[in-house]
């Protein structure tokens, strides 16, 4: 078996990503100014242990993915990146529009983007179901359970 053919890009990236997170934790912990009374068993020990553990695990995963073998992390199935992108866009729109537009319109946008990403093309049905669901959730949670959800453009109407 030619191991060079088995290099897994995803596994390598994940391994290196873990090493990156480990260095962020390590860097943050080095910079802490801790009063000497706590120096021995202070707030720094655990972060160091976690950072070291994560760096070792990351290196292990990266090395295995580079070398190839039975334990590789790899692309398993073809990925529909377009659908992933649509949901990501929906989530970003939702978090930015929630306060200015309000819970109902922002939630509806999120709902429609997810439905579209899952392959639904029945826009009318999705819009009606989504609108009723979001409206029901808003009314139920604000009046029933006393949560404060942003009313946005529908302020005064609901």
């Amino acid at each position: 078996m030619n191991s060079k053919q088995n290099i897994s890009g995803a596994g390598l990236a994940i391994g290196l990503g873990l090493i990156a997170i480990a260095s962020v934790i390590g860097f943050d912990t080095v910079q802490m100014r801790v009063p000497p009374t706590y120096a021995r068993v202070g707030p720094q020990i655990f972060p160091y242990i976690i950072a070291i553990g994560m760096a070792i695990t990351g290196a292990h995963i990266a090395w295995k993915s580079y070398r190839g073998g039975d334990d590789v992390i790899d692309e398993v199935e073809p990925t529909d990146w377009k659908s992933v992108g649509i949901i990501v866009a929906g989530l970003i729109a939702h978090m930015n529009l929630l306060k200015p537009l309000g819970f109902v319109p922002a939630g509806l946008i999120l709902f429609l983007s997810v439905a579209f990403a899952f392959g639904s093309r029945r826009y009318g049905r999705d819009a009606i179901v989504g609108f009723l669901l979001v409206l029901f959730a808003y009314v139920g949670f604000t009046y029933g359970l006393g949560l404060q959800l942003p009313p946005g453009i529908l302020k005064g109407l609901l």
């Binding site: 202070g42 994560m54 995963i61 949901i87 978090m95 819970f103 989504g130």
Partner: protein, 494 residues
């Protein structure tokens, strides 16, 4: 005897109309989310945490426990009729149960699953009733060093036994521990990993992480795999009344499933998945009809379905007596205890015995409710399976963002949810287990507190962890869990 009297008091609590109502709400909601693929008990309880903050804790826990049991009942229906496990504890049920449904024996499969769940759930609850007080006595022997070592054992078993490889499990655990570091250190007030964001000073809420991994990550993953989007729902065929033959072939697997499920739930090994696998392979070995396995053997449904319900009762033993979560759902339940300022362990049994025994008693009642809900009414529940996937996931994400936003009315939490969701997507895509991450997040701060407390008692001498015998045994077990599988693999390779 002591347990029996406490249990009677518990029934007095659980049988009040308001608590019966919470139990009914819990088991109904549990069945619902168990049946719906893509939403499980850990996610649902996490989403309920912000809205139950002002409830009476007894009622809330009765609801949560009913929900956990109910999810195990409901998920078998999905496994049998849709060939997609509703929860990870029903993966094996999907193998034989779906084959039975294809041969027109779906009703019998549903019956043996529901009755088996009832038998095993009740036996498991009985075992919980009498074992939990014993575990509490054990817990009294535990000091900070022992607690820390116990948590290390939980960390290593969860990371070694779940997921596609040990390194993936360990990476998921460390990620969870790192999430747990964010915020103000409780003992010294030192801010850690907050990157200048004041919102991060109070830490990353477990609800954000659980919802991010289970809902957002899962939705992104399902959307990315178009082949997972179509599934065929089989109609229920046959009689829900099992034949004499079916009873004869079911009762032993039920009992064996319960006997496997309960201890494995109680061990820090990740809850319901492993015992259901074990039960399946045991039944496959013991059956007089080996030719039916893989083609719809009733034993392969009866055993695993009993095992997953008994495992749920098992999970509650270390959770209530030691504060040790052994599954993702148990980790969320521990967060619920935190929310009400309750500390599981001997103090909980002494100080909040109404809650503990009311909760345990409610499990007996909940099991009866679930049997009624799931057998005669199964035809109604099945209609849930016809909800189109685009609408289902749209709804899940709307409620997920709602729950996370309502934690502190902050869009920053929604941003965190998004980031964790991306991480969850990558984990799901590359077969990293999620449970170690959740358990690491909730248990990490406890482990750290016990670690530092033990060291300050010993004045900085780290040998406390190995000179205390109980602690040394736990650490040795923890090391063995990681090392033994590696040695076995090496030996096999040679």
């Amino acid at each position: 005897m002591e347990s029996f009297l406490s249990l009677m008091d518990g029934f007095a609590t659980a049988l009040t109309p308001i608590n019966l109502m919470w139990s009914l709400v819990g088991v109904t909601l549990g069945t619902l989310i168990g049946i719906l693929p893509g939403i499980g008990p850990a996610l649902t309880i996490a989403l309920l945490l912000p809205v139950t903050r002002n409830l009476d804790p007894t009622g809330a826990f009765i609801m949560f426990a009913g929900l956990y049991y109910g999810a195990m009942y409901g998920s078998s229906t999905t496994s049998i009729l849709l060939n997609t496990p509703g929860e990870s504890g029903s993966i094996m049920t999907a193998v034989e149960g779906n084959m039975m449904a294809r041969q027109g024996r779906g009703a019998a499969a549903l019956s043996t699953a529901a009755i088996g769940s009832f038998v095993a759930g009740t036996l498991g609850t009985l075992a919980l009733t009498f074992l939990a007080p014993l575990f509490v006595k054990l817990a009294l022997l535990f000091g900070p060093a022992e607690y820390f070592s116990l948590m290390v054992l939980a960390f290593t078993t969860v990371s070694a036994l779940l997921g596609a490889s040990i390194s993936r499990g360990v990476a998921a655990l460390l990620l969870g521990l790192a999430f747990g570091l964010v915020g103000t250190d409780v003992l010294t007030g030192q801010p850690r990993l907050f990157f200048g964001y004041p919102s991060l000073l109070r830490g990353i809420d477990i609800v954000v992480v659980a919802v991010g991994l289970f809902a957002v990550g899962e939705a992104l993953f399902m959307a990315s795999q178009s082949r997972l989007r179509t599934a065929e729902i089989l109609p229920i065929k046959g009689s829900l009344f099992m034949t004499r033959e079916e009873w004869r072939r079911s009762w032993k697997p039920w009992l064996r499933g319960a006997a496997i499920g309960f201890p494995f739930g109680a061990l820090p090994a990740g809850g319901t998945e492993i015992p259901t696998f074990l039960s399946y392979f045991l039944e496959k070995k013991l059956t007089k009809h080996p030719e039916e396995f893989g083609r719809g053997a009733i034993e392969g449904v009866a055993g695993p379905e009993a095992a997953n319900n008994a495992a749920v009762a098992g999970v509650l033993v270390p959770l209530l007596a030691l504060g040790l979560p052994t599954s993702a759902t148990a980790a969320i339940l521990l967060a619920a205890f935190e929310q009400y300022n309750l500390q599981p362990g001997p103090l909980l049994f002494a100080g909040s015995s109404t809650l503990v025994w009311g909760l345990i008693a409610s499990l007996y009642i909940g099991n009866v409710m679930l049997l009624v809900l799931n057998l005669p009414l199964v035809g109604l529940w099945v209609r849930l399976l016809t909800i189109p996937q685009p609408l289902l996931y749209g709804g899940i994400l709307v409620f997920s963002t709602l729950g996370v936003y309502s934690l502190s009315n902050s869009t920053f939490d929604l941003f965190l949810l998004f980031v964790v969701g991306i991480i969850g997507f990558l984990m799901r895509r590359h077969e990293f287990p999620v449970a170690p991450c959740i358990i690491g997040l909730i248990l990490g701060p406890f482990a750290e507190a016990h670690f530092r407390r033990a060291l300050s008692i010993s004045q900085g001498d780290p040998s406390v962890f190995v000179t205390h015998p109980l602690s040394a045994v736990l650490l040795a077990l923890a090391a063995a869990v990681i090392i033994v599988p590696i040695i076995i693999r090496r030996v096999k390779h040679v």
